[in-house]
């Protein structure tokens, strides 16, 4: 089966700084794949390269067997690569519903439609309302995104991403700043996603990672360290060394570790 994402020797250099250096691994179709690593490991850079927000210095990015390395960001969205942002990035003066509609109307091919009012496009509105319900925001749909709480913005962020009908969904630290209850709700939404959606997430909350992920990739200082099942990764000596710098790492994967 073709992997949902395949990275071949992907690098990103900023002058002499090597944010990513020759990273290669695959993400199986339909998997829940986590990318972890200490700060500065290159996780966010990796996401930017996969989403196409930044051109790679070297290497190829292959999505569903199609080489997308040279595609602009908005074209990759059409190829099914959709991401959320580490810091909520929304349309703050638009309502929550409009935020979702912006993504949904693009996917529906209606974004150039200039004359027929949005409010008369019931299938589109229905879809957007369904998505808001899925992330528990149905009561806040008429609020401006700028007046939502931090947790609500993360939820909305997810709804916007889902409205793009992703085949490969990139979640950049989705649980950052969320309460345990909100994190639980987030895990639930991700688990309920259909199997044909591949999810790749960067996350510091290792509880959430080992709860959700079936595969884990560890990055360290811009290099690929290991990819494996959660238990393989837990057992890897290399990972323990990378995280703590040296030998003893008994508390690395304890429950509740940040």
């Amino acid at each position: 089966m073709t992997p949902a994402l395949e990275l071949r020797g992907v690098s990103q250099h900023f002058g002499s700084l090597r944010a990513l250096d020759g990273v290669s691994f695959s993400v199986a179709s339909g998997s829940r794949h986590a990318v972890i690593g200490p700060n500065g490991a290159g996780k966010s850079t990796l996401f930017a390269l996969v989403a196409g927000a930044r051109p790679a210095t070297a290497g190829r990015v292959i999505v569903d067997g199609q080489d997308v390395t040279d595609l602009a960001e908005h074209r990759r969205v059409h190829a099914g690569v959709v991401r959320t942002f580490q810091h909520s990035s929304l349309f703050l003066k638009c309502t929550a519903l409009e935020n979702v509609l912006l993504a949904a109307q693009r996917k529906a091919g209606l974004s150039w439609s200039m004359l027929r009012p949005l409010r008369r496009r019931s299938p589109l509105l229905e879809e957007a309302n369904d998505l808001l319900e899925r992330v528990d925001l149905q009561d806040r749909s008429a609020e401006a995104a700028g007046s939502l709480s931090h947790g609500e913005r993360r939820q909305l962020e997810l709804a916007v991403a889902l409205a793009c009908r992703p085949r490969l969904l990139l979640l950049d630290e989705p649980a950052a700043g969320l309460s345990p209850r909100e994190t639980g709700r987030l895990g639930q939404v991700v688990r309920q996603l259909p199997d044909d959606v591949t999810v790749m997430l960067v996350e510091h909350d290792l509880d959430l990672v080992f709860d959700l992920a079936d595969t884990v990739t560890v990055l360290h200082l811009g290099e690929h360290l290991v990819t494996g099942t959660p238990s393989e990764v837990r057992a890897s000596d290399e990972v323990q060394t990378a995280y703590l710098g040296a030998g003893d790492s008994s508390d690395l994967f304890l429950e509740g570790a940040p």
Binding site: V77, H78, C94, L102, S111, M114, P117, L124, A142, A163
Partner: protein, 308 residues
């Protein structure tokens, strides 16, 4: 309630020629034209977040195109309007991609330069009759077969017709998916790109549409004045249109028209009492608006949103 107010306003606009004198009617005609220009500025500045001081260029192109068509091709107004709109849209399609290389203040600077260049060109080219201005424009014929309009009140109806048509189309545009995309572009361009929009293309598209609207306004100006001079597309025209937008409130189309009304009335009436102090007065108006009306007249009633 909203609909009722709209109908009332429409009736008032239609009854105006019977209520006020011809000089006052010609002022209202000018308010409608400058109002359309302000709407075109507002589509860019208020709705899409691209501050512009260059719409006077497309206004001027529309005005001169209207003048040329009326003297060489036909005196039928809608034909002039259409050709003027096309000419201004084409000019915007050529210049827009350059302006869209930049955002924010740089965008403002580039559009200002475009406006100034068009103004200087109008003074130098033969086709515009240079600094003398373009005279000898025949009275406008509203539809083929109808007589030419010579009375101020009738010209007003012609301009009102063009105004209402464009205003209605703009209202539809703002409520459409495209209109929402424009607001998304203003709020967060990089996010809009990340949900799959080619954002620069949307920017150029609205730049062309706004240019076309400014062109229609220019053609109406020509029909109403029967004379076009480079001064009609000068820097102060662009500045006045931007002022009207800020007075009316960014993003509010009716606010822009009210703002245009205030600006034109200030210029015409108060400027008339204090002859020769028009520029001074406008300068003071600019300063007052910035300090006293930070969100414009429409600041308290923001545009209605989908799902609200």
């Amino acid at each position: 309630m909203r609909r009722l107010a709209g109908v009332g306003l429409l009736v008032l606009l239609l009854a105006l020629p019977w209520m006020i004198n011809p000089y006052a009617i010609s002022t209202v005609t000018r308010i409608l034209v400058i109002g359309l220009l302000a709407i075109s500025v507002n589509l860019l500045t208020g709705v899409t977040g691209l501050p512009t001081l260059g719409q006077s260029a497309y206004f001027g192109i529309g005005a001169y195109t209207g003048a040329i068509v009326s003297t060489t091709l036909t005196d039928v107004g809608p034909v002039q309007m259409l050709i003027a709109a096309v000419a201004a849209t084409v000019a915007a399609a050529v210049t827009g991609p350059v302006a869209m290389r930049a955002r924010g203040v740089s965008f403002l600077m580039i559009t200002l330069a475009i406006g100034e260049i068009a103004y200087v060109a109008a003074r130098r080219l033969d086709i515009t009759h240079g600094t003398d201005g373009y005279a000898g424009i025949p009275p406008v014929v509203p539809l083929p077969g109808l007589p030419a309009l010579r009375l101020e009140g009738l010209v007003y109806y012609y301009v009102l017709g063009g105004f209402l048509l464009v205003f209605a189309l703009v209202m539809l545009l703002l409520r459409s998916p495209f209109g929402l995309a424009l607001r998304g572009l203003r709020d967060n361009e990089s996010r809009l790109r990340a949900v799959g929009y080619p954002t620069s293309r949307f920017g150029v598209a609205i730049y062309c549409i706004a240019g076309g609207i400014a062109g229609v306004a220019g053609s109406l100006w020509t029909s109403a004045q029967q004379f076009v001079a480079p001064g009609d597309m000068g820097f102060s025209v662009a500045a006045l249109a931007l002022l009207a937008v800020v007075i009316g409130g960014l993003g509010s189309m009716w606010g822009s028209v009210v703002g245009a009304g205030l600006v034109v009335l200030t210029q015409d009436y108060i400027g008339g009492y204090l002859a020769g102090y028009g520029t001074l007065l406008l300068g003071i108006l600019f300063v007052l608006v910035v300090y006293l009306l930070p969100r414009g007249i429409a600041g308290l009633s923001l545009p209605k949103k989908v799902g609200a």
